[in-house]
């Protein structure tokens, strides 16, 4: 996994609540056996009209959001299906972070496993970014080390992140590699458990 460095990028606004993973990556695109190439299918049914042409009404098709790397949205983003294809599609499309007042649990955890930073801000902070994001070319700076979201006009919001997750993201470390260092503890547990709990 690529380490997460400080990132500055264009903001895209998705002013919708309870966006589910069925919308982020519709099921007809879950049949691949690879991890890559899902970006072209991101929000497919919202991006496209029935005849397959781009729907200019959809937020992410607006010219002002082209090239955005930061997605700002509303409560409970990523609810529903556990499909990790959702963060794969967002990351492959070019997003490095998603900012919202809350995320669904499984989606949140899936993002962290893929170097896509889910940032929880307070309602009023997200509201402020929605206001400022109306300016053409509005960018935010994500400082993971300092746990801050800033802009060049003086906006500065702090966010919380699990310190363990943060260190893995900063180093770009693979979870499994870390866990395998605990191989002896796992073996111990397996033997202990066999003795006390025969199921």
């Amino acid at each position: 996994m690529e380490p997460f460095k400080n990132h500055q990028g264009l903001v895209a606004l998705l002013d919708r609540v309870n966006v589910d993973t069925d919308q982020i990556i519709p099921k007809q695109f879950l049949k691949r056996v690879e991890r890559s190439g899902f970006g072209q299918f991101l929000f497919y049914d919202w991006m496209h009209k029935e005849d397959g042409t781009k729907d200019p009404e959809f937020e992410l098709n607006q010219p002002r959001f082209q090239g955005a790397t930061l997605l700002v949205t509303r409560h409970n983003f990523g609810c529903g299906s556990s499909r990790e294809h959702a963060p794969w599609a967002l990351a492959d499309f070019g997003f490095r972070a998603v900012l919202a007042p809350s995320f669904a649990d499984i989606f949140h955890s899936n993002c962290l496993k893929n170097g896509l930073l889910p940032i929880v801000l307070r309602d009023e902070e997200i509201e402020e970014i929605f206001k400022r994001g109306e300016q053409a070319g509005y960018e935010l700076i994500i400082d993971l080390e300092g746990q801050q979201v800033r802009d060049v006009q003086g906006l500065c919001f702090s966010f919380d992140i699990d310190q363990y997750r943060k260190s893995l993201l900063l180093q770009g470390l693979d979870d499994i590699g870390v866990t395998l260092q605990y191989g002896d503890a796992i073996t111990d547990y397996e033997q202990r458990k066999k003795a006390v709990y025969q199921v």
Binding site: R16, D22, K31, C79, S81, I106, D162, V199
Partner: protein
């Protein structure tokens, strides 16, 4: 030791590593695998030269992609490749597989309990959010992403931050025609699709204690639709009676010894929860969803809500968008809404009791003209049992299609798809835009309500229409 909840006891028993300021490393007893969320995980193992640590704790089947008319004729080449890939991966890594030829095949959350793989006190994961179903047995069961699938395959463990706890007390006596499905839909309609976020819910109360295992599974299945990490029910005699003699459960004296251990999992007197909700079901009506998430629901005797009367601007816009998608107007009666499709199946409602309830309504009646109605048993075993009971004849005589087991129209990753613009009364768990096919309009209901909609060609209040069967429609609650 301070009094602990059921969840805390299971958690404590499974902590392999617990260090300060870090998630805990949790041991996983049962890892269920299906064809859609596993190929990239196995590929990851191959690329790093890793093995499956405990193939014996792992069990696979195919369900999402399987055609339910003829499971062996997969016309979609990419779906066929996923199914073949699962077979090859299970062979390469030594994992037990209930494949399409096996009598054990079915929806992963139906076969786990049915085979006795699901047991109280276990930690259970699967790359599928409806893994919460298994919590009905007092197991800590939750859905994971594909990276975590790979992690569990390689290490049999997962790093988990301890979730918060919530107690949901469900009290009262349901009236005939109102089921466990209505209970969970009603709960989510009342408290929203994210009241459980960050929490593990323990369901308790007189209504839950009276429920059968299948009813408890329906409730826990949809805990994820409340945003919860997992749903749990205290294991009791109902649980033990269900499991006794199941093929993968311990047998004889070993089973009875386990029962004694499982009883000790009960939440201690005086244990506390981060949050408690009390939900009275005495006056609950059969539920129907009107919108595009499971929280947008109401009693079938109600009218479509007015978005303008909602509290926040964001909610109002979401509700208007949902009504546009669903082609409904504020103030419409749900019983005036016609359906063109009926789907009875999915990991929420495809078990034998669900089919029996639908059969009570279907018996001696006919599916309305212009309605396509489909029954998809949750597993081969459910199908076989239903046929032994003659339910298939009741359904076929009434004009329902009688299918092979699989996920089918719940997510339409297979040929079972609702055409754009048509409505479906569905016993599944998600009514998201496009879930059952692009432009398809899903209304979540119970099996009895779905069967009644098939007969009437529109939503009807199953409490009123089918008087004579009332007692038979009375579940255990």
């Amino acid at each position: 030791m301070a009094p602990r909840t059921l969840f805390e006891k299971i958690w404590d028993q499974h902590e392999v590593v617990a260090e300060a300021n870090k998630p805990s490393l949790l041991y996983i007893d049962l890892h269920l695998v299906h064809e859609v969320t596993s190929p990239q995980a196995f590929e990851g193992l191959r690329l790093t030269g890793r093995k499956v640590r405990q193939p014996g704790n792992t069990f696979a089947t195919m369900d999402h992609n399987v055609p339910t008319d003829d499971p062996f004729t997969v016309l979609d080449p990419i779906a066929a490749k996923q199914i073949e890939t699962l077979v090859a991966n299970c062979e390469e890594f030594g994992i037990r597989l209930a494949d399409l030829h096996s009598d054990d095949q079915g929806i992963v959350h139906v076969i786990g309990p049915e085979l006795g793989l699901t047991l109280p006190g276990k930690t259970i994961v699967c790359g599928d959010s409806h893994t919460s179903t298994h919590g009905a047995f007092g197991a800590l069961a939750f859905g994971i992403g594909t990276s975590e699938v790979e992690h569990v395959l390689a290490t049999q463990c997962l790093w988990q931050k301890k979730p918060k706890t919530m107690l949901v007390e469900i009290e009262g006596q349901l009236v005939p025609g109102v089921t466990a499905k209505d209970v969970i839909l009603g709960l989510i309609a009342t408290y929203g699709v994210d009241f459980g976020t960050g929490h593990v819910i323990e369901f308790t109360g007189s209504a839950v204690r009276k429920m059968t295992m299948e009813e408890r599974m329906t409730v826990c299945n949809m805990a994820i639709e409340a945003g919860a990490r997992a749903g749990l029910v205290q294991p009791d005699e109902t649980t033990f009676d269900y499991l006794r003699g199941r093929p993968y459960a311990p047998q004889g004296d070993a089973f009875e010894a386990c029962v004694e251990a499982w009883k000790k999992l009960a939440t201690d007197e005086g244990a506390s929860y981060d949050k408690t909700i009390r939900f009275d079901v005495t006056t609950l009506a059969p539920q129907v969803t009107w919108g595009t998430h499971p929280g947008m629901g109401m009693g079938v005797d109600g009218t479509v809500p007015d978005p303008d009367a909602m509290e926040s601007d964001v909610e109002r816009r979401a509700a208007w968008q949902a009504l546009r998608y669903m082609d409904l107007q504020p103030g419409m009666k749900m019983t005036d809404v016609a359906v063109q499709n009926v789907f009875i199946g999915s990991c929420t409602n495809s078990r034998i009791e669900d089919l029996r309830q639908a059969a009570v309504v279907a018996q001696g009646r006919k599916v309305a003209a212009g309605v396509r109605a489909m029954i998809v048993p949750g597993s081969k075993k459910v199908k076989k049992q239903a046929e032994q009971e003659g339910l298939d004849r009741i359904f076929l005589d009434a004009g329902f299609e009688w299918r092979e087991s699989g996920c089918s129209m719940c997510l339409a990753m297979n040929p079972d798809v609702i055409p754009a613009g048509e409505r479906c009364a569905s016993t599944s768990n998600r009514n998201f835009e496009g879930r059952q096919g692009r432009g398809a309009r899903t209304h979540l209901v119970s099996p009895a309500m779905a069967a009644a909609a098939a007969i009437a060609g529109r939503f009807v209040d199953v409490r009123e229409v089918f008087g004579a069967e009332k007692e038979e429609l009375h579940g255990t609650v």
